[in-house]
Amino acid sequence: MTEQPIPASPVEADLEFMKALQDKGPQKPPRSQWRDVWDQFRKHKGALFGGSFLIFITLAVIFGPYIWDIDAKKLDIRNKDWRPIYTLLWDGDAKAGWIHPFGTDQLGRDILAQMLFGGRVSMAVGWMAMALALIIGTAIGVLSGFFKRMDFWLMRFTDLILSLPILPLVLLAVTLFGQPLRSQFGPEGGMFILIVSVISLTSWMQTARIVRGDILALKEREFILAARSIGTTPGKIIRRHLLPNVISPIMVSATLGLATAIITESALSFLGVGFPSDFPTWGKQLADAVDRMQEFPERVMLPGIAISLTVLAVNYLGDGLRDALDPRIRGR
């Protein structure tokens, strides 16, 4: 007997009740999780702006130098100190024109080309450092959360690194180790490797902590027990079952990491310990322009705005992602 027999004389109220329980409209097609995330993300205007600006600036610095193909390092001393094109609006005699839309600097280098090239460096440092920090942080977090034996020591290690003074140490490392790496990999390559590794080695700790916490909670769930009971190896459990479930905190800390990496790189360039002096980055352009900002305020403003807008966009993106990926907020 699989079905309960229907009562011979159902009460009126019961019928009403059963009717109310039935679906009136047609059933909605099932929705995937990522579709929900996207719908929630779209509601956050700032995040949408941030995401599109980040894509725009990344594409601009990747392809921009091919379209605006003036060499950023080429000196043209006869055409030095051009003003940006918009100065023509209020000053018809200003030295400005469409050949150099953002003007030229005191050595006649085109500022637009410098901005594009410098942005390429800053964004490359940011993305690389962020990716490296994520890999280190996730690895340590997963190992620490999943394997009980390593947990204590790995977390003590993370705490120790967290109590290191980051900015002084980064300054120290970049100043002291710049020379040998330069001779090994060339002035730009060496500095790039050094800055990326220093930034990523000092910014993985938050990711590790968050990932560890999530793994600890997930490890006790039934689906992990089920996976274990059919003989899945720990490596496979981590790759198949745990990593996909911690992807959202990792994405959120990725945006934070990108923002701090861009700011740290610019701060290093600003303090004059970063890339070599003829190699334009946003921070270095800003630092070089500070001495003559009375006459040429735009040279401070343009790279400064570029850094700030990029970081703002990344932060908004992170905000939106956090809301969109949090199932408690989603759908409200």
């Binding site: 003074p165 701060a267 305020p297 700030s308 703002l312």
Partner: protein, 345 residues
């Protein structure tokens, strides 16, 4: 609570030792040569003697041990000597002269004790950084409270946007930006912080006040952005709790409900964030000091790095580390004291 504090204090000793070892090894591995500034005409055997005079001839572990002894044993003795000898508070005690003839950590740049220079530079940094932090907190907390109370209002939206912007603009951009606006264009404020300025009357106080505005505001912007976000989040978490409804149902005034019941509970995480953020703002001061030419400890670190002055760099970085460990400890203890739900024992 007391046992927890003692345990944490004891635990911070190996932490600090480890950090000092990391910094020391980093400096040892670095290829910079302190003799690089010495003229080439100096013969190599003389250079070797100079190197030994700086203590560089010794093996690494002995150098490290000597640094430890100098910082943890001799410097406190110097401090006690100072207390019993010159300070007004303990000057009546007999002069101890503990550190007589003992070698302190000597800077390679100036050949004078590192600690003396640090103590000379400290007040400038503390004034600018400390005041900036206080100003930042004083601005941030009301903003956070009001934006949470009027959630999704125009004020909240504008406040969230402004804090996000303040969060994103780095201090090395806000600094020059403020200089362009207020020093160059308007000519209201001086662009350089004059540390030799002495305050002795109203007019000189006014000058001091004017020159502090910009560095303090630049640093305070970062603090404000961060803390008001936390404050808003904490208030939002608490405003929907049951005890708030109970308080309102009892007929308490709205101001009492928000400013006493909700605020006190929301301050718990914010206070720890304030304590934890303190070392970071010292780090941020490195950049701000550079922009406004304040000769504080951040600027000292930069010049020492450029001059390859290893004892100075070592000691300064270690001071930053001590600050971080100290404020982490303070944050943990405060959290335990303020929140009765947290039990460490």
């Amino acid at each position: 609570m007391l046992t927890f504090t003692i345990r944490r204090l004891l635990l911070s000793i190996p932490t600090l030792l480890f950090i000092s070892l990391v910094i020391f090894l980093l400096l040892q591995l670095a290829p910079g040569d302190p003799m690089a500034q010495v003229p080439l005409t100096v013969p190599p055997e003389v250079k070797e003697k100079m190197r030994e005079a700086l203590g560089l001839g010794q093996p690494i572990h002995i150098q490290y041990w000597k640094w430890l002894v100098q910082v943890f044993w001799i410097e406190p003795q110097v401090f006690i000597d100072y207390l019993t000898n010159r300070s007004t508070l303990f000057g009546w005690l007999p002069d101890t002269a503990l550190s007589e003839g003992k070698l302190r950590v000597i800077s390679w740049q100036t050949r004078s004790p590192v600690m003396d220079i640090v103590i000379q530079r400290m007040p400038q940094t503390l004034w600018v950084v400390g005041l900036a932090y206080i100003v930042g907190i004083v601005i941030a907390i009301p903003i956070g409270i009001y934006s949470a109370y009027r959630h999704y209002s125009v004020f909240d939206q504008a406040g969230t946007f402004i804090t996000m912007v303040g969060f994103s603009i780095p201090p090395f951009f806000t600094g020059p930006l403020l200089i362009v606006i207020f020093s160059v264009t308007l000519g209201w404020l001086p662009s350089i912080y004059d540390t030799t300025h002495v305050v002795n009357d109203w007019a000189s106080f006014k000058v001091q006040f004017m020159q502090m505005i910009m560095p303090v505001m630049v640093l305070a912007l970062q603090t404000t952005a961060q803390i008001s976000r936390y404050m808003r989040g904490a208030m939002l978490d608490n405003l929907n709790q049951d005890y708030v409804r109970t308080a309102r149902a009892k007929g308490l005034k709205e101001s009492v409900v928000v400013m006493v019941h909700v605020l006190r509970n929301s301050m718990i995480p914010v206070v720890t964030i304030i304590a934890l953020g303190m070392p970071a703002i010292f780090g941020g001061a490195i950049i701000t000091e550079n922009v406004f030419k304040v000769n504080g400890i951040g600027q000292l670190l930069l010049t020492a790095l450029r001059a390859n002055d290893l004892p100075m760099v070592m000691t300064l970085t270690f001071i930053f580390a001590v600050l971080i460990v100290l404020f982490n400890l303070i944050a943990d203890i405060l959290y335990g004291l303020l929140d009765p739900r947290i039990r460490y024992d």
